[in-house]
Structures are given as C-alpha cells and as structure tokens.
C-alpha cells in the first residue's frame, strides 16, 4: 500500500498530513520524504538515523589515449553534456542525464562511467515507525535521482506514506507515480484552487485515485468545495485555521501528539482512503 501526498501549491500542509498520518497509524508504517529539495518530515519525526548513503549518478569519463575524436558521443548526446573541442573531449556532468548513449556509441571503448554525487539518502526509525528521506546537495540541478533512491525504500508489506514536493513537474511525477492513492492538500483560496486543478490534471494523467484535504478551511472562499463537487472528487478532511495548530507546527511538533482528537481524525482519514482504494 502506497499513499502519496501532493499539492500543486507549496505550503498547503503536505508535511503536516504526511507526518501526522504516519504517527497516528503507528507501527507497520514507512514514511518517505521525497521532497529532497526542502525535506521537512525529519524535523517532526526526529528519527534515529541508522543508515546513510551518498546518492550518485553515472556520468562519462573519456580516456583521451583511446579517443579517436570521431565525435559520435557529441552527436548522440541530447543534453550537450559531452563536446569535442579541438583535440580533446569536454564533459559537463551537471547536464548529463546518465542515459549511457555516449558510452554505447563510442567505437574505441574510450568512455567509462564514474559516480557524480548529488545528495544524501538516510533511513531510520522512531517508535516502530520506519522513516527515510533524501536531500540534494545545494547547487545540484537534478532532484529526480535522489527521489528515486527514496522511492526504492518502499516496503511492500507496510503502509508507505510518501511526502511529495510541490508543483506538477518531473520531481512530483517521480514521487507519486505507481502509488495507490494520492492525497491532494489544498487551501480554499484562488491560488490553492488554481494549483489544485493542475495537480488533479497530473493525477488523472497518471491514473491514480485521489481525494482532497482542505487546510485552513475557513480562510478563503467556497470555490474549492464547488470544484470538488463538480469533479466528483471526495473531500477527505478539513482542517480549520487555528493559532494552536499553527504554533504546534511552527515548533516542529505533531498535532496527533500535542492536541486532543487529532489522532482519531487522522486514523479516520486513513480509513476513508482505504474505503476509496477498495472501491477502486
């Protein structure tokens, strides 16, 4: 079982939903933070990290003793990551997508691959809750290879909860594709609605069942609700704006541990999701 949490718009409450849902369910849960640009789940979970790995991408290295300067590598590369200049071959590792084309096409066997480090993957646990996350190094352009490493930590026998980055482009797709259900977290504002529509478009392309959580549900207008009704998308939960909730979040604390009733509400959220998954 894999439940992913996405939003389109940033700052709507993905982390709140992911961390509180995971802790409310307790054991047999695996929380994966795929927002590798700005991961925050670990702040709330405070896990004991027992495994650390450097995530790298294979990039070409050219042996100029073997290279005949034929230029086929430059020709096949769609990303301008390898270029023949005069009597040498320059590589631009930050542009390389690691497709392996240059190595495959090289007639002189002059290209090998070396690892380029892009970020860190870590895993651990907290009170029986399994946890993993990644973070790209500052200045790195590509997030997807690190996200894919976090996705590889899915445990099939557990409830896996994936916290995705904001937006609707490649990092989000990598985080939510092949999951069983997507929780779309939004707020009832024009920005929230606009970005929710984009996120719904994305999950429809990926063909994943989905539902909506409305955060700060009393600040704004009714348009998100109207949209959900028109589109027949279930509203799974509403969280009103409350200074106590905002303060709890600001200190890096969990609602399910600090405020009464919330644990039950998140367990109920999970039940609702399971009902929708069973109904297909």
């Amino acid at each position: 079982m894999i439940i992913s949490i996405a939003s389109g718009k940033g700052g709507t409450g993905k982390t709140t939903i992911a961390t509180n849902l995971a802790v409310a369910l307790g054991t047999d849960v695996n929380l994966l933070d795929c927002d590798v640009e700005e991961p925050n789940d670990h702040i709330f979970i405070q896990p004991d990290i027992n495994y650390t790995e450097r995530v790298s991408l294979k990039v070409p290295q050219v042996d100029m003793n073997k290279c005949s300067l034929c230029g086929l590598c430059q020709e096949i590369c769609q990303f301008q990551a390898i270029v023949v200049v005069g009597k040498t071959v320059l590589t631009f590792p930050e542009l390389c997508h690691s497709c392996g084309g240059c190595m495959e096409v090289c007639s002189e066997d002059a290209i090998t691959e070396i690892d380029r480090e892009m970020g860190i993957f870590e895993s651990g646990s907290r009170n029986g809750l399994e946890f993993a996350y990644g973070r790209i190094f500052v200045g790195q352009v590509m997030a997807v290879p690190v996200i894919e490493r976090v996705r590889a930590a899915v445990q099939p026998d557990k409830v896996n909860i994936i916290d995705a980055p904001p937006g609707t482009s490649c990092p989000v797709i990598s985080s939510v594709k092949n999951t069983d259900f997507v929780i779309l977290v939004t707020e009832p504002t024009p920005f929230g609605l606009n970005d929710l529509k984009l996120a719904v478009g994305m999950v429809k392309i990926l063909n994943i069942p989905h539902g909506i959580v409305i955060n700060r549900s009393d600040l704004g207008d009714d348009k998100v609700m109207e949209y959900a009704n028109e589109e027949n998308i279930p509203i799974l939960m509403e969280i009103p704006f409350d200074r106590q909730i905002a303060e709890t979040y600001s200190k890096g604390k969990l609602l399910v541990e600090e405020l009464p009733d919330w644990k039950e509400r998140f367990i109920h959220l999970h039940e609702k999701i399971m009902d929708h998954v069973r109904e297909g």
């Binding site: 640009e37 504002t189 392309i205």
Partner: protein, 286 residues
C-alpha cells in the same frame, strides 16, 4: 538593469502575495512570473495577453510498430525503463535521450520535438508582465524559466525600464537555480516555523553558492515571535540584511479572493504598511 527575484525554499510563505504588493508600489518595471510549474501571479493581476508562443524543448521517442521487428535492443539500452514489452514508449518515463532512436536497426523510432508549455507577454494594471505555463507532467521547467526571464529583460529594455520584479518557484533545484542565476538580488520570504527556518538555510546557501546578494523578510511573524527572533538572529549572523516583518493577517487571503494586491485592497492596514516599509528598504538596496 536590476532584477529582484522573490524566493523562499519552503512553499506557501507568501512570495506571490508580496510580489503582487511590490507590483502596486514599484514604478516603471516589468513583472515576471518564474514559477512556471504553478504560476499564480496572473490570478491577482489579470493580465491582458498580447502575445503567446509555444515553448518547445526536448524530444520524445515514439516506436512505429509497423516497422518494429521486436528485436528488443531498445528495451535493453533504455536506462529509464520507458519501453514496455509491447514496445510502447511511456511518454512520462521517456527522458528524451534518443539512445533507442540512434540504435534501432530498423529506423523504426520517431523522435519529434515536444511542446511542453506556453509563454505569454501581457499588459496588466501594474505594468507589463511575462508569464508562462509548463504543461502538466512536463519537464524542462528550468529552460522555460530561463526563457521567461529572457523575455522579461527584452521587454524592459524595449520600454526603457530599469527594473524587473520576478516571482520565483519554491524549492532548491533546477527551476530555482534557473530563476536566480545572474540576478541582482533575491528576497527570501520565510515564516517563523522550524520548517521555514530549515528551508531558508538551504536557499541562503544556494544564493551564496551563486554569489547573489540575499535579503530576508519574515512573513506571519507574530505566529511565533520567538522563532522570528531566532531566524533574524541567524540572518544577521550570516550577514544578510533583514528587510522587515509582516504580521499574520487574513486580509492577504481576502485581497487574493478579490483579485487585488493587498496595497489595493487595504493600503492603510498594518500588513500593507509593513510591506511598504520592506519595499522602501529593498529599493534603496537594489
């Protein structure tokens, strides 16, 4: 030419609302929305689109099944597992590397250029604006950001304006790097939460990495005044000028619902006053 980019690391800290307010306050500027993945500035400024162009970038492989002999070489070579056992290329998994196209012995794979989004040049009540829309589930957002900024610069030169105000995306990677590269300065909008602090630290590092002057302001500061102090102390320690604090105020949402900037909606409110002060300080820095 001065170019200010509003970024945050963490999403939802108020980048777009603040940039909208600056749009009401600044004179003779071009507005640019570089959050091409989830562009929202247009919702407040209601641009009148004057010019529209397709954004074309990259390619996708398509196997012509009439020519395909199912030799399987493409599946063997594809590192992105984008080709099914029925020899259909999944357009979402396809990276556009062209390795299958190059090696197919039957020349059975087409490689058309992709249209991944749209770019718009518009007029708004607050001045000219360049904005874009990346197609859903598309990649190449960094390139579209770069193109959007390039058009904004050209438009500013054309009009004889000296200033570009740009709304940046959340995060830290490709689209953010494309947004800030070569800018005059970045305003980092954060909020007084541990997450806001953590995410700000990483964008501060990013701005330093690219040697771009960074300024800081704390939005919704009164939701946790202690954390606001911690963040400001951190900024000071890093030598980042603090531009001000904005109180939490539902009028930001109310203004958004009315499709107005908060200066237009209630210019005499405390929140609007705080934003005006921040703008004055920024102006003198740029």
């Amino acid at each position: 030419m001065k170019e200010l980019i509003v970024i945050s690391g963490k999403g939802g800290t108020g980048k777009t609302s603040l940039l909208g307010a600056f749009a009401s306050l600044a004179k003779d500027k071009v507005l640019c929305d570089a959050d091409v993945d989830a562009a929202d500035l247009y919702l407040i400024l209601e641009p009148d689109i004057k010019e529209r162009q397709d954004f074309q970038e990259g390619h996708k492989a398509i196997i012509n099944l009439d020519k395909c002999t199912e030799c399987g070489l493409c599946r063997e070579l594809c590192r992105f597992h984008a080709i099914s056992t029925e020899f259909i290329v999944d357009p979402i998994d396809c990276e556009g590397c062209g390795v299958c196209v190059y090696f197919c012995p039957e020349d059975a794979i087409d490689f058309p250029i992709k249209t991944c989004g749209e770019l718009f040049i518009s007029e708004t009540r607050c001045g000219p604006m360049v904005h874009a829309r990346l197609g859903i589930a598309e990649d190449n957002s960094g390139r579209l950001v770069t193109l959007t900024r390039k058009h904004a610069k050209e438009l500013a030169e054309e009009r004889g304006f000296n200033l570009i105000l740009t709304d940046g995306p959340p995060g830290l990677a490709c689209p953010v790097i494309a947004s800030i590269a070569g800018a005059t300065g970045v305003l980092i909008v954060t909020e007084p939460t541990l997450s806001g602090h953590h995410d700000m630290d990483r964008v501060v590092e990013l701005a330093n990495h690219f040697q771009i002057p960074a300024y800081v302001c704390v939005n919704k500061f009164d939701l946790n005044p202690k954390m606001t102090e911690t963040i400001e102390a951190y900024a000071q320690d890093k030598g980042l000028p603090i531009m001000g604090r904005i109180p939490f105020d539902p009028i930001f949402t109310e203004a958004m619902v009315q499709k107005q900037t908060i200066i237009e909606y209630d210019g005499s409110s405390k929140a609007a006053g705080a934003v005006k002060e921040i703008w004055e300080r920024l102006k003198s820095r740029l």
